[in-house]
Assembly symmetry: C2
Homo-oligomer: 336 residues x 2
């Protein structure tokens, strides 16, 4: 079929502070005719992730900034609907970084075939994709998790945080986390088996609340938030603790520099290691991760939630919702 209306989301202007819908534009392009060796992919699910906020700024970061008036890119899964490439037959499910559009053509170089599995395809954008891999890499490789560690996770009901909590429990650790609502707290306690939860929005004293949730201190901190969380946790870390810095969502929308923690001398006093990481650099480990995670999922040992917006026109709302705490688990956009 000739696709005249292929809708996509472009970045219209660089957001200042929390992004608004006016920063985005919904446009439509025709899809070019397939050449020999190419396939046409219809995206079915788009991944919506906090790290994209960094790419909306002009300054260089670990990946290129998004260009204005061009389609945004991000994780996506889809289905091959036309094919002139025998490696990617019609009907196969694929993942790619060609999100935030309904259709795209590809030579296959930027596609990964999804395995045949009973697990829903969009799991390859979350628990079996970048977010699950981020949780696994940060905990096991960066924070060098050991059985019996006391673990604290910020943004613990998010797409990464909820998987971190469960992996740490599977590894025999005490696990506490912070969330922004009582509903999320109940999810962690009742569904994920987390040992203690702090609602950072309702506490008068974040450090004291975390201290109560972690009566034996913190050996491993999985950092998704930054700011006041980091300062409080530094005071509660045990000797030789390890902090895996995955994200600092508190900082992403700051319009002026936010002062850092005043207690960095804790790094020396407690001989702490703090390490930032980007999951893409560890992608060689991805096949081993998928094998391990698939086993856990099939054994019912890992569960996850999705917060789903419908239709490409809702992708900006989904993205903005990330910074308002509207998601439990993975934020996704389902395409028609």
């Amino acid at each position: 079929m000739y696709i005249e209306s292929n809708r996509e989301i472009q970045l219209l202007r660089r957001p200042v502070g929390i992004p608004s819908k006016e920063d985005f534009k919904l446009v439509s392009h025709p899809v070019a005719e397939l050449q020999e060796g190419e396939v046409l992919v219809k995206n079915t699910w788009l991944s919506v992730d906090p790290y994209m906020r960094g790419r909306m700024m002009e300054r260089a970061s670990y990946i290129e900034p998004f260009a204005l008036n061009e389609v945004l890119s991000g994780g996506a899964v889809g289905e091959v609907v036309e094919s002139r490439n025998t490696d990617f037959p019609v009907g196969r499910k694929v993942s790619s970084m060609n999100g935030w559009r309904e259709y795209f053509t590809s030579t296959g170089d930027d596609l990964q075939l999804l395995p045949h599995t009973e697990i829903a395809e969009q799991a390859f954008l979350s628990v079996l994709g970048m977010t699950g891999m981020t949780a696994f890499t940060g905990l096991t490789k960066i924070a060098e998790l050991k059985e019996g560690d006391r673990v604290f996770v910020s943004a613990a009901s998010g797409a990464v945080g909820a998987i971190v909590c469960q992996i740490a429990k599977l590894k025999g650790c005490y696990v506490a986390g912070s969330v922004g609502s009582d509903e999320k707290a109940r999810y962690l306690l009742d569904d994920l088996g987390v040992d203690a939860v702090v609602n950072y929005k309702t506490t008068d004293d974040l450090q004291e609340s975390i201290a109560k949730a972690c009566p034996e201190g913190i050996d491993v901190y999985f950092e998704n938030v930054g700011g006041a969380h980091l300062e409080a946790v530094l005071n509660l870390m045990n000797d030789h603790g390890r902090i895996a810095v995955c994200g600092m969502i508190d900082q992403y929308n700051a319009t002026t520099p936010q002062a850092g923690p005043a207690n960095l001398s804790q790094l020396i006093i407690k001989k702490l290691k703090v390490q930032g990481f980007i999951v893409f650099e560890h992608w060689d480990d991805y096949p081993a991760f998928v094998e391990q995670m698939t086993q856990w999922i099939e054994a019912g040992k890992i569960t996850w939630k999705e917060t789903v917006y419908n239709g490409i026109e809702q992708a900006p709302d989904a993205f903005i919702g990330l910074f308002k705490g509207e998601n439990t688990g993975k934020m996704l956009v389902k395409l028609a």
Copy 2:
């Protein structure tokens, strides 16, 4: 000889801000008679170190706070002047943590015999002692120094910093450092072969000055200072850089919390590792370190400076001088 006047320095009150002489007290005690198995040691050199400032506070740190109205302790070398212990004959030089007093008795459990060497005994308080070992451990083990790394050192003319600079040069690295006077800058450039120096007291823009001194960025930062130095360096680190946090002398005398760097998201963007350490935890490596460092010294590849105060009554002045930048290299007190 019966020693009735054994002078020692006690902590009279806990300093607020930069310590003053009024925080200390010079007292005299008789030395108890030697028991079987004991030795009498006459200290000849006392080590004066910034970390002692932390022990003057009441709060727990990585070592016990100093008690008020008791003798201060710290590194010292001395000579056995009487002995009822065959392992420690009269005339042997020893090192201990029993500093800030003129004499002490010991069963030998808290003494280390110094090797027979041409190197001056007080070197075992600096280049061959804690400060040299700190430089070596921080660079090689914590910061995982590799040949060709671009290295930046704060407080680069201090007892630790000057050794860091020279080890990094011996390992084939580009080395730049910051100091607080032009005289110290010349010492680094002319005597230690450092590639570039920043005088942080005379620059209008610390980050720009460090950037000029490190035109290819920074792979390893040896942190002795904290504060504005850390913030500037975070912006200049290369991908996968490593920061060994040895000290934060900018913070030690702060009477109110000092905000930390506003750019900790650089940890993620550049995948940095930041690690604090305490040299005493690595003391198993000390014999190997002494062997390596002695070789370097005997080959003329490592030099060092000492700033010497005379007499135990000057120990407080020497200590206070650390925070005014009065030392180049190791701060020591020579006893009569």
